[in-house]
């Protein structure tokens, strides 16, 4: 585009807000000797993806970060919690954090899933939050246990722990086991005495048989089916076979919940009684610290060979890190996505929170693998439905939600 002299000088000197934020981060890290995996690093990515990937996340450690989804790292048996800016400053200045000891909350997921492809970790955690509510875990650390949790891979366990904050919890934990130790072995930043540490962890990092939790909740994995959120918080979620609920029935006599559900249906432009599988979508976002690891992308790709995205649906696939992106490309997943008209993007948070231009337009409806369906989360006036990667992929192809159990 042709520019005037003034425009050329302006463009050469302007610093946009994001640029200012990144430059400040780079300068501060350099001044204080803090390693930074910046935009040019092969390890760049969402902090909750690269921490485990690089072996920085270790069992038995405490991890804090200025982001609420720090709970993700609890999948390795770390006590990992999100904190505010002032607390980050406190930690950098003192290496300490002043905390009230949270209470303990056992979340048992017994039994086995009926279909390990169609029913994912995302469906397990959404089913839990649907029951305990968005404040169910306030003041507690959740410990996920039971057969269905042991059965999960580390990528899947991270999806579960990631959304602990959506249940209001301070953190989520899963006791480390052989899968955890195998996952971390040989990663870039694990300590040199890793094998000794594993021996130590095996003895110590587990809940004692006779230990008592302050609270307990149990759910049977064999009863869980694919989930779709219909409202404006993650507890407003239903089985894919259900319909959009009636606010009064949903609220079960709680008047403020009833108003909240009514507001949610208004915002989401949904009618009670509409089957979830009748809801048409405009956009699909496969990504975020909840669901942008290699296994998520493999699952999303597994059902699209030979199929194409619905012509009315715009689809974005955003890997969680440059390493995930490289691994996915090695497996040819990028080609599968592109052949189906799914956009294949650079790694980052993208449309999970809409801080960059990846946002929904007003009124657009999105099937999203992210973690929050709050009003405006993916763009002012945008409507978010939370689903698993395979459910998002299926919705992209069908143009509306489908029960993916019928496909796999």
């Amino acid at each position: 585009m042709a520019k005037t002299l003034f425009e050329k000088i302006w463009d050469a000197h302007k610093v946009d807000e994001i640029d200012g934020q990144i430059k400040t981060l780079e300068k501060n890290c350099q001044d204080f000797g803090i390693p930074l995996f910046g935009l040019d690093s092969p390890y760049q990515g969402i902090v909750h993806v690269i921490g485990p990937e690089l072996g920085i996340t270790l069992p038995g450690t405490t991890i804090v970060c200025g982001d609420s989804h720090t709970s993700t790292h609890g999948a390795f048996g770390a006590f990992a919690l999100g904190i505010g800016t002032s607390d980050v400053e406190h930690v950098l200045a003192t290496q300490c954090l002043v905390l009230d000891k949270p209470k303990t909350y056992e979340i048992r997921v017994d039994g086995k899933r009926k279909n390990n492809h169609a029913i994912t970790a995302k469906d397990i955690i959404l089913s839990i939050i649907k029951k305990i509510g968005t404040a169910g875990g306030t003041g507690t650390v959740l410990e996920y246990r039971g057969q269905a949790i042991s059965d999960l891979s580390l990528d899947e366990r991270m999806t579960i722990c990631n959304m602990s904050i959506e249940g209001g919890a301070r953190a989520g934990l899963i006791a480390p086991d052989q899968k955890t130790f195998d996952y971390l072995k040989g990663r870039k930043y694990v300590p040199k005495n890793y094998d000794d540490l594993v021996t130590q962890w095996k003895d110590t990092l587990k809940t004692d048989d006779n230990a008592k939790f302050d609270k307990s909740f149990a759910i049977d994995a064999s009863q869980i089916i694919p989930q779709v959120s219909w409202g404006t918080n993650p507890a407003m979620t239903a089985d894919v076979t259900e319909s959009v609920p009636d606010p009064a029935e949903f609220a079960k006599g709680d008047s403020s919940q009833e108003i909240a559900a009514k507001n949610a249906l208004d915002y989401m432009d949904l009618q009670s009684g509409t089957p979830l599988t009748d809801i048409k979508i405009d956009r699909v976002f496969i990504g975020s610290c909840t669901n942008a690891r290699l296994q998520d992308l493999v699952e999303a790709a597994s059902i699209i060979r030979g199929r194409k995205a619905s012509p009315n649906v715009k689809v974005m696939v955003v890997p969680g890190s440059q390493q995930v992106k490289a691994q996915a490309e090695q497996m040819g997943l990028d080609k599968i996505f592109k052949d189906a008209n799914f956009e294949w993007r650079e790694s980052g948070c993208s449309m999970c929170l809409g801080m960059n231009p990846d946002i929904l337009s007003r009124g657009e409806r999105c099937a999203s693998t992210s973690n929050r369906n709050f009003e405006g989360r993916q763009g002012a006036g945008g409507r978010t439905h939370l689903v698993s990667p395979i459910m998002a992929s299926a919705a992209a192809i069908a143009g509306h939600f489908v029960d993916v159990r019928e496909w796999v």
């Binding site: 609420s68 909240a260 009003e375």
Partner: protein, 189 residues
Amino acid sequence: MMEKISKVSSIVTPLDRPNIDTDQIVPKQFLKLVQRTGFGAFLFHDWRFDQNNQKKEFVLNDPKYSGSHILVSGDNFGCGSSREHAAWAIKDFGFDVVIAPSFADIFYNNCFKNGILPISLPKDIVSDLMKTVSTVSVDLASQTISYDSKSMKFDIDESRKKTLLEGLDDIAITLQHEATITAFEKSHA
């Protein structure tokens, strides 16, 4: 040094919704700044303004509540994102006290770093507070709220109370224990 808080008296601003998340308190388009000031202008932005930046019908736009320093809201206030911008915006807008039946943990914690007093009270009392048009007086030292000739106590952790009353700097308090911190770090190296 943080602003001290001891007594706050004003009418209350009622915001009767549960589960107000920090994405609503400060939408993400305002998270690109690198300073902590001036966020009051963005408080509840998408509820206050329409897409043409015109004021919507919303309690914070109602002139009758200007001069209110006490926000009263529903269960689980401040859930979601850890963004401290939510606390900065509430304080900058002019609220010193937030009253709700319950708070999300991270937001609750962020309040004390920014001179905001969060008070949890039983649901029926919060509902009653939302209805009153009288001046409500909050006294942190005696942990008392009074209005309409009613008076009630509220709970608060002693050390957090002290932080707010004296406007103490958390980092300076922690660094009084530097020798212990160093010893711990050596033993865990």
